[in-house]
Symmetry: C2
Subunit: 352 residues, 2 copies
């Protein structure tokens, strides 16, 4: 094939979908037709992509017909049902949901770390990792290549938009309810002010942090915590590396942050870690606390790379580093990584 | 001495001072006279303690004269100057600042963990730990007693009131500025909205997290991070235990949270950890995620104990636990611990 491939964007109206359409408008134009697909609820709406208004189609077999690549950014249940249908039609599916990531027959791809993996896709599906994994994995992968990763201990500071549009609306509504009040010093006063409707979160997310993200897994772990472990092991091809994660929601609109303690096989130095991170593609080193330089979500939101700062060598272990990372969960954490994968597939499909 | 001792509260008008006055009104009445002291700025103000209005005195040698115990809750520089002056007058100083905690001649006391330490105080000063240390140390100490602590990796979620009244005012002002807006999705839009006045924080604290607390220490560490390490080692009397901390400010009014990864000498089980935490004095176990039971700062603010939940055994290390803890940084994190120490001193002074 030498024509530009047809792309279907499934979930075009969502939080990730919105950023995907921006990326498709800004990136090098590798696509022929671009079809926008969502649920029957929003079918008929018009969205702008590459400067044109395009009508949203309801998800159906016909809507997928003739596409070569489909970017899926829909809830797990929708991806579980429809990705195999699309793949059966010969469409290469690049899926951002949690359904296929740990499937042995589905590659889990971060182009800066394991670009080769995209080509072997027996099910016709390529998975993109969850946003917390993506915020750290490029930087951690670069350090691993030099020092040999042994263990990760991760605590997250996850933004509301990790739960899509509903998450953002919930945080904004709750922020209005507490602004101008003296709430936050008596037990339960924030909970009473925001009421029972905590949206997609299991507790108030304004003036609060909620140590839970995802569904309940075994032994007290949340699905986001288990996924971070499983995905990091799979992407780095380190099936036995130790990973412990605690996933926490914070009152930030967009931009996930992670505190990472990484222990390596070999001795580390901050100077060498800085060199590696400063030159790793897709990573920005921003680390001079004396000048106020460390990444925060409010500063990195809307940007493509993963930002890393607060690089310190453990005072008790010459082989361990502590880092703080921020990335836009809708960009590198979702849409950008998926778009990068889709572009790699397009290049492969159109190669002579 | 058999009369009830005279107590001076130095810093009575501050964030910690306000809670101290509540505690002095509610706790068993061990004090004779209670003197309230602050800066010349607020001298002459009247504050209520034990149901009576008491006039605030300006800090001076005269104001301290004749007191047996003084609770200091003032900035570091004021404590550094005045605690030795008070001690020289024979006043036992219980200090909440960061100045004396690592002094080998000053005991650092958490009554649930090392109550005996209070009696040996060659300088006449007893120090109370920082709020982040206090939020975890009772629970960690109880687990250490059973399993033998080897390593702590800690990430904090610190509330605005950790920076006193100025911190709370900053968060409240910034919350009003972003309420009702669509801010939080473009780089720097939160920073522009809140302006240059970020109060005691090195960046906007609303709709953001800021990976910095305290002053700059060596090798990229912040003073809160170094203090957490030094204080935990001193209180637990484990001078070589490994501790790595990353301290982060979050948009919460009051209530510090900590994600703690704790590795032990011996194998752990969640069941045994639950038993220990459920019976440890000053700790509340709140750990049933399926029922939505995990501590959050909005729920535990205003309460005395440290709350612990999300207890998980590492999937890769049978000797490691991951926990999430919350405590009111003005109560157990400051005023309550200091009041407990002062009451132990009072009991000693009045013992027949
Ligand atoms: N948000 C993040 O940070 C992030 C990061 C990485 C991965 N992801 C994953 O990306 C996916 C999308 O997340 P999001 O945050 O964009 O969610 P979202 O804002 O809730 O958007 C969901 C999208 O799916 C569509 N959809 C829902 N039900 C559908 C159905 N039955 N048929 C067809 N389309 C349907 C919605 O269309 P309507 O508008 O018509 O309802 C909308 O376009 C999820 O799997 C999520 O786990 C999200
Ligand atoms: N906030 C926490 O979570 C926390 C936890 C543990 C320990 N601590 C420590 O406790 C201490 C007090 O903290 P805070 O949060 O209560 O601070 P804050 O709200 O800023 O209060 C400071 C107090 O110190 C007084 N003060 C300031 N300068 C003074 C001077 N020159 N002479 C006499 N008094 C003076 C103030 O009196 P005016 O009102 O007259 O200015 C006020 O009463 C600090 O050392 C802090 O590190 C705080």
């Amino acid at each position: 094939m030498n024509r530009k491939p047809t792309l279907a964007v499934v979930g075009a109206t969502g939080a990730v979908g919105e950023v995907l359409l921006q990326m498709l408008s800004q990136h090098a134009d590798v696509w022929g037709e671009i079809r926008l697909i969502a649920s029957p609820r929003t079918a008929g709406h018009k969205l702008s992509v590459r400067g044109e208004d395009v009508e949203v189609l309801p998800l159906s077999e016909e809507a997928l017909e003739g596409a070569q690549v489909a970017l899926f950014a829909v809830p797990d249940a929708v991806a579980a049902q429809w990705a195999p249908i699309a793949a059966a039609k010969g469409v290469v599916v690049v899926d951002s949901s949690g359904v296929f990531r740990m499937d042995a027959d589905v590659p889990l791809v971060v182009p800066e770390v394991n670009p080769h993996a995209v080509r072997l896709r027996p099910r016709g599906i390529v998975a993109s990792p969850q946003c917390t994994t993506l915020a750290m994995i490029v930087a951690v992968g670069a350090l691993h290549a030099e020092f040999g990763l042994r263990e990760l201990v991760v605590s997250t500071y996850q933004a509301a938009s990790g739960e899509g549009r509903a998450g953002v609306e919930t945080l904004r509504r709750q922020t209005e309810l507490v602004a101008g009040t003296k709430l936050g010093t008596n037990p339960g006063d924030v909970r009473r002010a925001v009421g029972d409707d905590t949206g997609p979160f299991p507790g108030p997310v304004v003036l609060n942090v909620v140590p839970w993200a995802g569904e309940a897994g075994d032994d007290g772990w949340s699905s986001d915590e288990l996924r971070l472990r499983g995905e990091a092991r799979k992407i780095l091809d380190l099936p036995d590396v130790r990973v412990s994660a605690t996933c926490v929601r914070v009152p930030v609109v967009t931009g996930h942050s992670l505190s990472v303690h990484a222990a390596f096989e070999n001795e580390v130095t901050v100077a060498r870690a800085h060199e590696i991170l400063a030159t790793a593609p897709g990573v920005v080193l921003f680390d001079n606390p004396a000048a106020g330089d460390f990444p925060t979500p409010a500063d990195v939101v809307g940007t493509d790379p993963a930002w890393v700062g607060r690089v310190r060598r453990s005072l008790d272990d010459p082989c361990a580093l502590d880092l703080f990372l921020c990335a836009d969960n809708l960009r590198k954490g979702a849409a950008l990584n998926a778009a990068q994968i889709a572009e790699a597939v397009a290049a492969e499909l159109t190669a002579p």
